[in-house]
Amino acid sequence: MYLLNRSQRHKVNYTWMIISLLLVASLPFLLFLGLYLKSFLLIHDYHLGDLLFSKVWKPGSGKFGFYPFIVGSIWVTLLAMLISAPICLLTAIYVTQYTRKRFLRIMHPAIDILAGIPSVVYGVWGILVIVPFISKFVGPLFGVETLGYSILAAALVLSVMIIPFILNILIEVFRTIPMELKEASLSLGATQWQTVKSVLVKKALPGIIAAFGFGLARAFGETMAVLMVVGNVVRLPKSVFDPGYTLPALIANNYGEMLSIPKYESALMFAALILLAVSLFFNLVMHFFIDRYNKFAS
């Protein structure tokens, strides 16, 4: 039969559950600690403000200013969100409120396919389509000369990449709103659009914030596709047509040679630490808003 009796088995199961829980719960801390220790050399020798806000990046002569990378990352991420957020919100409202259920059944696989495409494929698509499109059409349209490898290219590719993720959450959020709430609003004489605008979006707001936060975090950390189209030039971008450089791209591009220059390894680890800290910050802000909202209304 069994090697152990019931209470012993219970104890063993319980112990394992605690161990796995502790492991999962401690991972973020371990990650933080590891990155901190690895980048300690840099943090110890330089002023933190200089590292974060200096524009000079010359690892060969010991100058590590992360500002261009931070700014590049923020530009690309925010621009991508600016493009994809309204598209996702309107699409989610349309497919859940204005079409038949059958339409959603067709949409779902399409969205999942988009979500499943490897990011390097998006990168190739960006190089072949988006980059020439920007250098030949969008640039001239605004009277700007650009190679196409730019903040805008990265943001466009990125926005397409995060759409399926945000959209899937948003659709779920809108689908879980009870039909009766919609009926209540309509029965008061609201039109379909007034109902969507004043009732459903309000009801869904915590979910919408969560979906956008999730997309933001993903966009901020995306490496491959961005690296392929952003241009990888260490310079403060003056417009969206300028090339830039992002934190994940910095790590990925230089990982192979990091041992050749003193403190280079520490610098890349510090970049990773910034990434982690920013993701954490996004998460906290998102939860803050959701909590606040839930306290106020639900």
Partner: protein, 255 residues
């Protein structure tokens, strides 16, 4: 067809299909004015669908096909040309569970008022107070009007929904088992309120609770499996049911 002045709603040959399945089968009902008409029947007999035909919430379910006539004030509600928004404001709806709008207590009432075109804040406030009073909720919420409606108890929420429905100034109240989620005291309150409101409104109440029907109904429509089995005054249906199915349901030997 002309509606007799004593009848508010006139339903003729109403059929509802969901795909191949027929949900409502040739419904013919007259709903008297300023009376409580109870639509009685077991779960799944089509009571709720019948109610939703009256204010065209059936539009939300594209799989439903509705034929026949629902005449209110001489107009067929089901005619495509009908202005649905105005029509729905002609009827207040109270659902099984209260679904307060995701906004403050005050705005739950003001929402419908604003839709009716009331914009001045003084007039809005006056009316909000009036309808909260009418639903006997004012004393409980007068100091917390800016709180989210979701913080109210479920009984209070249902009264808020009643006030919200009354605020668009309807002539008909459609109630779909409005007490099924409430405690006995809140239920009793809603029932008493209905009896009081019938002087000014025509009330259609869907329920499966026999005692509730007996307590407050003037007119009873008994439905089973999408058909109207029997209809008449409360004395006729409860005192002297003609159909076998009605007798069984009233006697509790239904199967």
């Amino acid at each position: 067809m002309e509606i007799e002045p004593t009848h508010k709603i006139h339903i003729e040959n109403l059929n509802v299909y969901a795909g191949k399945q027929q949900i409502l089968n040739n419904i013919n009902i007259r709903i008297p004015k300023n009376k409580i008409t109870v639509i009685l029947g077991p779960s799944g007999c089509g009571k709720t669908t019948l109610l939703k035909c009256m204010n065209r919430l059936t539009d939300l379910y594209p799989e439903l096909k509705v034929t026949g006539k629902v005449m209110i004030n001489g107009k067929n509600v089901l005619d495509a040309g009908e202005d649905i928004v105005k029509l729905r404001q002609y009827m207040g709806l109270l659902s099984q569970r209260p679904y307060p709008l995701p906004m403050t207590i005050y705005n739950n009432i003001a929402f419908g008022l604003k839709l009716k075109g009331i914009k001045k804040s003084r007039e809005l406030h006056k009316q909000v107070v009036r309808y909260l009073q009418q639903a006997n909720l004012w004393d409980e919420v007068k100091n917390r009007l800016r709180e989210p409606a979701s913080r109210l108890s479920i009984g209070q929420q249902q009264r808020l929904c009643l006030a919200r429905g009354l605020a668009v100034n309807p002539e008909i109240i459609l109630a779909d088992e409005p007490t099924s989620a409430l405690d006995p005291i809140s239920s009793q309150y809603i029932e008493e309120k209905f009896v009081e409101l019938k002087n000014d409104y025509t009330i259609v109440l869907v329920t499966h609770i026999l005692r509730q029907a007996r307590r407050i109904a003037d007119y009873v429509v008994f439905m089973y499996l999408g058909e109207v089995i029997e209809q008449g005054t409360v004395d006729e249906v409860f005192g002297n049911p003609k159909m076998e199915k009605t007798k069984q349901y009233l006697g509790g030997t239904f199967n």
